[in-house]
């Protein structure tokens, strides 16, 4: 009897330790990255690092502005492409599609979410790059290799399809049937009900989905690296190459220990990513958690 209870007590403490250790990973990662960014932060301030666009590691000049802009361009393009498509798809799946069609569509969206980033990258190189180079870009600019922020944006958009569709679908499913029935019984068409009732009710959830998708797109590395061109200048059009932050980290790990301050600069890049994504994630999770609570209460 005593042994059983003792076992329970010991195991409970052990599990507490495991839980605390894995949660504190958030803190430890943040601190670890910060500590390693200190050398570069001592040399220049946050402000100059983020706003300077001169990137000459050999001279000790680290300006992250082009990389931040590269990240913003590809993420922006991805969201602009993905959001309308995913919103319409989610509305179709939840509101219009027959159960049979739904049963066919949903598994494929799940399968898409299982495909590894590097495969998206390969697909981008094989399909999107030639598409842009030969068919899209010639209509707008004189010459483009296809390796551009547009290519990165398209590949990223496809990567975040499943995430946005599944979150928006979940949110749409939570909207009470009575609300829709009330609108329909007043003579509104189904689309009018969606436009004026469903979408308005679902707005916080849609915002949460977008914020989550942005943070996902921010951190995506290899697929974007393979199609973006990786040129450390600020892009001015969608056909310009860009160089997002994660690609910068991934591309230079080989040299980072041989040039002074370089490793610190890359860890600072990782810290920037970490902080932005942490904030965005917390915001969207809080919105979603509140929605869920409203529903269950």
């Amino acid at each position: 009897m005593q042994i059983r209870i003792l076992k329970d007590k010991i195991l409970s403490k052990l599990m507490l330790v495991f839980t605390l250790a894995s949660v504190s990973l958030l803190l430890i990662i943040g601190i670890g990255l910060y500590v390693h960014s200190i050398p570069i932060l001592e040399k220049s301030s946050w402000g100059t690092l983020v706003t300077s666009s001169i990137w000459k590691p050999l001279k000790g000049l680290f300006g992250f502005y082009p990389f931040i802009m590269g990240t913003l361009w590809v993420t922006g393009i991805a969201i602009v492409i993905a959001l309308p498509l995913c919103l319409l798809t989610a509305l179709f799946v939840v509101e219009y599609a027959h159960a049979g069609i739904r049963r066919v569509l949903v598994p494929f969206i799940n399968l898409l979410s299982g495909i590894p980033p590097v495969i998206f990258g390969v697909w981008g190189v094989l399909f999107i790059i030639p598409l842009i180079q030969n068919y899209i870009a010639p209509h707008f600019v004189e010459f483009s290799t296809g390796y551009s922020v547009l290519a990165g944006g398209i590949v990223l958009a496809v990567m975040i399809f499943p995430l946005i569709v599944s979150i928006i679908s979940e949110v749409l499913n939570t909207i009470p049937q009575e609300l829709k029935d009330a609108s329909l019984s007043l003579g509104a068409t189904k689309w009018e009900t969606i436009k004026k009732i469903v979408l308005r009710k679902a707005l916080p959830g849609i915002i949460a989905a977008v914020v989550l998708a942005i943070s996902r797109a921010f951190g995506e590395t290899i697929a974007v690296l393979m199609v973006c061109g990786n040129n450390a200048v600020v892009p001015h059009s969608v056909f310009d190459p860009g160089y997002p932050l994660p690609a910068l980290i991934a591309n230079n790990y080989g040299e980072m220990l041989s040039i002074p301050l370089y490793d610190s600069a890359l860890m600072f890049a990782a810290l920037l990513l970490f902080i932005i994504i942490l904030l965005f994630n917390i915001i969207s999770r809080l919105i979603l958690a509140r929605l869920e609570r409203k529903l269950t209460s």
Binding site: L16, S22, L26, L33, T89, P116, V118, A289
Partner: protein
Amino acid sequence: MRRRKAEELFFKILMLIAAIIVCGSFFLIVGTIFAKGLPYMNLDMLTKTPGGGFYIGKEGGILNAIIGSLYVAGGATILGLLISIPVAIFINMYMNGKKFLSDSLRVAFDVLFGIPSIVYGAFGFLIMVYFGFRASLLGGIIAVTLLVIPILVRTLDEVIGTVPLELRDAALSLGATRWEMAKVVLRQIRPGIFTAILLSFGRAIGDVASVLFTAGFSDNIPTSLHEPAATLPLAIFFQLSSPVEEVQGRGYASALILTIIVLVITVLSEILIKKFSKHKS
């Protein structure tokens, strides 16, 4: 009236097109990989390690990367499971009446899930530098374990949530300790644990950014934890950046291998989830 109907029809068609694009992109990707990879596919790819001159188009295969990836993903999943099962049990069964705390923990794991793999990779690299070991199988496993812990915890947490509360109450009312109750619940969720394993393994085997700094690359199959290990996604990436056509082609074939592995895993886990949710109702 007619305008309202027309508007409805217009958006209905738009929705259909959007759904076709979203789902069709899956076929487009898999189709492209098959079309480009299949011509270069052969048995050597699966059964041989890179021979001399492999990277200029001479013979060999990517067995080193396949085995390396299985080691990394398998090791990380096992290690992750050892950590995640106690965490999931603790959140669900030892935090009664502290709903705010357990909900905060769930949000924390959701946030950890959102941290990109490149950050885990960079952090794993810091750990390695701190403890003074070089890029190796062990380093890769550690970084990927950090990556899969949130996936495992959240999946297990959801699965435990499907176990009827009465079952736990019955165990407790018979005088069982919380740990004995947990054992009953664990037996109930065995298929769910398997789903979690598949999800974690699928994510681990396809991820590049976390192993890039930590696992290194080698043409040999690693024989100890301290040797560098090749991984499938990295092998694809390297072969694709080669200017030699033959090597690029083998990159496509490697991509095909990875795609097939991941698709099989995803389909299996889909089937398991379906089965599991059938039991629930």
